[in-house]
Assembly symmetry: C2
Homo-oligomer: 92 residues x 2
């Protein structure tokens, strides 16, 4: 997977907001896009970055492509970060 892609994906405010929108329901690309003042093409680009980072997954129904959060990558991220804030590296 790679932390580089994950952190890069999370560094963009649009993408972080998309993740918040998906926190408790899956949404179609169009629905997601309608919350922003950007073209659908741009939203599609951001969704592809999130997907590449493994932060979301997609499924299809009728004409629509639905996106939803993929929790497991967030868990890996927590593990990485807890190296620093946990303080489990004390001597003794």
């Amino acid at each position: 997977m790679g932390f580089a892609e994950t952190f890069k994906a999370l560094s963009d405010p649009v993408r972080r907001e998309i993740l918040l929108m998906l926190r408790d329901q899956k949404m179609s690309a169009g629905e997601i896009g309608s919350h922003f003042e950007m073209t659908g093409a741009t939203i599609s680009y951001h969704l592809s970055q999130l997907k590449k980072a493994g932060l979301v997954s997609e499924s299809r129904y009728k004409n629509f492509v639905y996106y939803e959060i993929n929790m497991s990558v967030f868990e890996e991220l927590m593990m990485w970060i807890s190296q620093f804030s946990g303080g489990q590296n004390e001597k003794g």
Copy 2:
């Protein structure tokens, strides 16, 4: 502080490695630089990005500038991420 800067700082592999090096001891800019095949100027740039994101802080002694981890930003990061992996948003 801003998550954008924090995540952006973490998206670079050199900067993540610097953070790992600083996990259990403070180090001078020069010591840090000697672990990489890069000019001191480039290392200085990366350190400034980490500092801007609040991930490290610096102190001076003699000719040296020492860098050390700043844990509190990692803790904020954990909070943000736990919105997703914690699953505290269930109905019922």
